[in-house]
Symmetry: C4
Subunit: 254 residues, 4 copies
């Protein structure tokens, strides 16, 4: 039995040399936030849904009381200007739960984009630091050496041996399995504490992406969200601080 089903809800877009932009849930939800913001900003149009038996057996409830089976969704954007790129965008509720589910999901995504003529992809994610950071940098890794120099121009940086554990999940697998099929691409990883969803890191990633694609995106809403999260984060660390202020009475217990 196949674990993944692709369902076209609109006819397949016919685009010249489209690029895939992927952002699924992950550390700090950086990739998902970035791609969702991009989809909204450029008013990209949904054309397909992916369902997997390796997603949780779950429906979400829409504000109008109807249900929505968890999935991944494909959108497209047709370039408005000559120097802009045509885009296929992928985001979703979940990544595959198991290792096998991840591989099968990514193979299905590659089937879809291969069929649409995609040759290049940018996958977006977070790079979990475990501590707060004022100005998140964006690390990257590529399928091919000649892309490395090229991408440094856009402000993404490359730190030798980072991330040490490589890239885990769909963002890495799309490049890894894609490379075997002849796709080119890169993964952009925004630095993030990793505790909470991180719109600031998503903004940093999007900034680079918009330079590459020549697509202007209003980032003000991400900035607002970033301020909200910053506020929540401060509240949380203050609460933690308060707990830490009176350890003496309890300290001898453990």
């Amino acid at each position: 039995m196949k674990t993944v089903t692709v369902r076209y809800v609109n006819k397949k877009p016919k685009l010249n040399n489209p690029i895939l932009i992927e952002g699924l849930p992950g550390i700090g939800n950086v990739g998902k936030l970035a791609v969702e913001h991009l989809i909204e900003s450029i008013n990209a149009k949904k054309f397909a849904e992916i369902y997997s038996k390796d997603f949780p057996p779950q429906v979400f409830i829409n504000p109008d009381g109807t249900i929505k089976l968890v999935n991944n969704e494909f959108y497209y954007f047709k370039a408005k200007k000559k120097n802009q790129k045509n885009l296929i965008l992928l985001t979703g509720d979940y990544q595959g739960l198991s290792s096998q589910g991840q591989y099968e999901l990514v193979e299905s995504i590659l089937d879809v984009i291969e069929d649409l003529g995609v040759k290049q992809m940018y996958t977006l994610g977070g790079y979990g630091l475990g501590y707060e950071i004022k100005h998140p940098k964006v690390l990257f890794a590529t399928t091919d050496k000649h892309l490395v120099k090229n991408l440094k121009k856009y402000g993404a940086i490359f730190k030798k041996n980072e991330p040490g554990g490589g890239i885990i999940g769909a963002s890495g697998l799309l490049l890894g399995l894609g490379k075997l099929r002849g796709f080119e691409g890169a993964c952009f990883m925004g630095e993030t504490p990793g505790y909470l969803v991180d719109p600031k890191s998503a903004k940093a990633v999007l900034k680079i992406l918009t330079k590459i694609t020549n697509i202007t995106v209003d980032l003000s809403r991400l900035e607002e969200k970033a301020k909200e999260i910053e506020y929540i984060s401060q509240q949380l660390s203050e609460m933690e601080g308060m707990t830490k202020d009176k350890p003496d009475e309890l300290g001898y217990i453990g």
Copy 2:
């Protein structure tokens, strides 16, 4: 290898426009209690069993010493009056253990009911509150917007953004995967503390269901069971109270 096997133990019922009522084990066992009570009350007839390799490898022992392989079971009820609905009822010992098992079980259930001409379904479950409640309300979610207004008439309520985590398990998946196949339906979730089996919540759900189907059901046995559980629940919280009465000697340890 297929994980699910459907076994007909009687010939397929031929019913005009039957509705599926599903209640499998879950939070407070609300759905299962409700459907089991309904089956008994209306004397519905078993016609099929579902076995899955994703159920536990387990047999139960019947009171007469014979064994019963864990399964799900289909029953049917032929309407006795003109305004009543014909019913297909589904209950069982388990839901699928894994995510994939859940999806495959639900696809098999949909195969069966599609074949029987079912177009509409009501799935029953519990909505875990984590605290005691005197008068459990019944929340709902639907496959289609036009059903929302319709179902409010019967006393089910709709709270925006609840349940926040959506619906997990067969009750949600039947609607989610069913919707993709063109089924219509709703999930009714009885509020329940969620600690113990909850006949009171099951009764609340059944009350709404009987209005929709025009089938009268004697709910007195559920009320009796509800009183028993209430008694057990009180005993438990008294025991807990007693433990909490003498914390002083131990308090400084942890």
Copy 3:
């Protein structure tokens, strides 16, 4: 891909109306001990091996330095006297690790014995009590009601609603899936504390089995093993006792 492979290491036995006796690892290893002892006593001959991808990826090392891939093994015994039964015996290193693996293993076992003309089976296991017991009784459950009365004659007992959780694993599944294919049979469960391997319980189970099959088995070696285990068990509880003797110094810590 199939998870289970059956490998014949000798030609298939041709036996009149053979009975399957199964004893795989489980609580107290009661079933495995019983069948292994039976195989040795009656000098049963191995004719097939079962390998499963759901067994651990493990080889054992034989005393002579060669390896043995973990498996299940089939043996047969040809009746020597008129009133004796012909036997197919199954034991092994493991049961399937996952639920699905268990179902597929048992379906393969049923395929093998169906092909050999088996119609009846006795599966052996332990019934974990969680406390020591002097004279373990043997509980049973059957596929068919008419067997219940019959088996009580041999000294096996039937306690209503026990085991409460039914029978989990191959012993239950062979009856459950077997019944759907028309096999008849019973599971004999020797009472056992369940902490250690339990030759005493295995002996109790074998006693009943030898009456049913009219096959005499020397149980003295099981008795010896039982004494060894009893000794180990006493040592362990003494050690525990010693620890419990001086709780005062430590008691206030937790």
Copy 4:
């Protein structure tokens, strides 16, 4: 769906009577270290890669900023002298994550080497002792009895009933599943504390292997690595010692 894919990156080597040498990650990474060192020393050439859906969904990042999908890799070595053996070498980033994944990976490896005319294999691993050891010995186990005497000549030792738990993972499974297909071979297990990667144990294993294959390998780099690890190990145990030096103040807490 198949879980394993073999990808030839060079044409299949044509070798007379080649022997497989396997070393995948495991206890002390003994096998992987040994085979990687061997590959480097003899300048073996990569000819195939194995990808599995049961490896983690992960890419590593190369020093040049490009990604590498986790895999296993085959190399070959053509004998330079008459008394040397032709070799097929296997190493990699991971073993299969699940039991089923392990079996399918090993079956695929056996398919590859059967196709290349391999009839004999040596699998390398560590034997975890849980304590430091000055001069690690090398234990072994074989597919066939006649190999036992033969291999003792090379300095490998055989301790009855060790390892007690047999051999878990690819090193054992290659012998176990291989034996069923008619392969001959042995597993060499270098004694190792098992806490850290253990080049000293890898060296001990390689020493025996070079005698068998008549291939001389410079072991000085493994010796250097062994010294580094020894230094780290000392640092760690000193740190532990320091912690243990002041238990008095904390001792009464737990």
